[in-house]
């Protein structure tokens, strides 16, 4: 179990950190040139973004965080060399009702399938339930995103809604799955 001294932003192989405006735009620009990653991470149309565009996006994001106060964003870095490997986000926080939705993405193929996403999501859940004190989290996943479905199921999420044919990609319609996890369900897991 965690206590006050247990670091919120450190896991065995990865850590959360802030945006590095010097180094990160170039790396994330590379990810955006990989259409497969973009289609798993975004419901918006995939499009390549230059480092300059990525930098602008960071500025927009940090402005939105400051103004809307319902969003947290973390860069995922490898503990070993502090290299940027992904992004994690808590968004659409509804403070009055204690809910939010989560997103995690591991950018380059080399870093995928190594448990980094699992460690990131676990840290994100602890932050949501034990720091923001929210009551439930939601994850929206396209039915073709098998990796994400396996990940949220592994961490105890329940499939709650199947929004039939909500997405259009590859000239066909796809369902969107909505997963939920409640605070007491999470507590039972980490106490076990």
């Amino acid at each position: 179990m965690f206590d006050i001294a247990t670091q919120l932003f450190e896991s065995p192989d990865i850590r959360f950190g802030p945006i590095d405006y010097e180094k990160d735009p170039e790396i994330e620009s590379k990810w955006t040139h990989n259409a497969e990653f973009m289609r798993l991470y975004e419901f918006e149309p995939a499009r390549p973004m230059s480092a300059a565009i990525v930098k602008k996006q960071y500025e927009k994001l940090e402005k939105k965080i400051e103004e809307d106060k319902n969003l947290y964003h973390f860069m995922i870095r490898a503990t070993a060399d502090d290299r940027l490997i992904g992004k994690a986000m808590i968004q659409r926080i509804d403070w009055a009702n204690g809910n939010c939705s989560l997103r995690v993405g591991i950018g380059s193929t080399d870093d995928q399938r190594k448990g980094h996403g699992t460690q990131a999501l676990k840290m994100l859940l602890r932050f949501t339930f034990a720091e923001l004190n929210l009551f439930r989290v939601t994850a929206n996943v396209a039915e073709y995103n098998e990796g994400a479905i396996a990940l949220v199921k592994k961490l105890g999420f329940t499939e709650e809604v199947r929004r039939r044919q909500s997405l259009e990609r590859e000239a066909r319609r796809w369902d969107l799955l909505v997963f939920g996890l409640l605070k007491d369900e999470w507590l039972k897991q980490v106490q076990a």
Binding site: R136, T138, E159, E160, V178
Partner: protein
């Protein structure tokens, strides 16, 4: 072709900001209405403030992905509610927000008639492949109305809201273009 803006009980209009504000300031004082229609905490605002919001939204929201209507009853021409549509352009999905602010018009088919116009507009004018909405589990009247209009329940997000000290589920519904077209040819929802 059918009239897009005229149903059997209601019609869809665009109202002047100061008129809407005068009416909506009254709707806000009905906390039951607010809690049925909206997940944010109830609040009371001046007619002046509401008018400013409406004017700001007219500027911001008059674009291809956003459609807002007022609802008027056909029999007495009273302004009784609103209907807002958000079109997800890339995925051809429409999200709906609807509310009948005048309590005397609850449970009499006005909302259902407006929802039928909403579906007709979404599929026949906006090119939607799907129309979606969410509601609170304690809003049984809305659930019945949406089912009547053709929506199917697709699941519930457990305990998403905190209302009156209790956790409550949100329900999520959708209707597909093919399902709606079949209903127009006489199929039951």
């Amino acid at each position: 072709m059918k009239d897009l803006f005229r149903g059997e009980l209601v019609r869809l209009t665009s109202e002047e900001p100061d008129f809407r504000a005068k009416i909506e300031v009254n709707w806000q004082r009905d906390s039951e209405f607010h809690r049925l229609a909206d997940g944010d905490p109830a609040a009371l605002n001046s007619a002046k403030k509401i008018k400013e919001w409406i004017e700001k939204n007219v500027e911001r929201d008059f674009n291809p992905s956003r459609y807002f209507f007022s609802i008027r009853a056909l029999d007495d021409d009273k302004l009784i509610g609103f209907l807002g549509l958000w079109l997800e352009l890339v995925h051809s999905e429409v999200w709906v927000g609807i509310g009948i602010g005048e309590r005397d018009y609850w449970g009499k088919g006005y909302g259902t008639d407006a929802m039928k116009l909403c579906l007709q507009y979404s599929f026949m004018e906006l090119g939607a492949q799907r129309v979606s909405l969410g509601l609170f589990e304690y809003n049984a009247r809305a659930l019945k109305s949406y089912e009547k209009a053709g929506f199917k329940l697709e699941g519930r997000m457990r305990k998403e809201m905190m209302r009156e000290g209790k956790r409550t589920d949100t329900l999520w519904m959708g209707v597909l273009r093919d399902e709606w077209l079949q209903m127009q040819n006489g199929a039951k929802p």
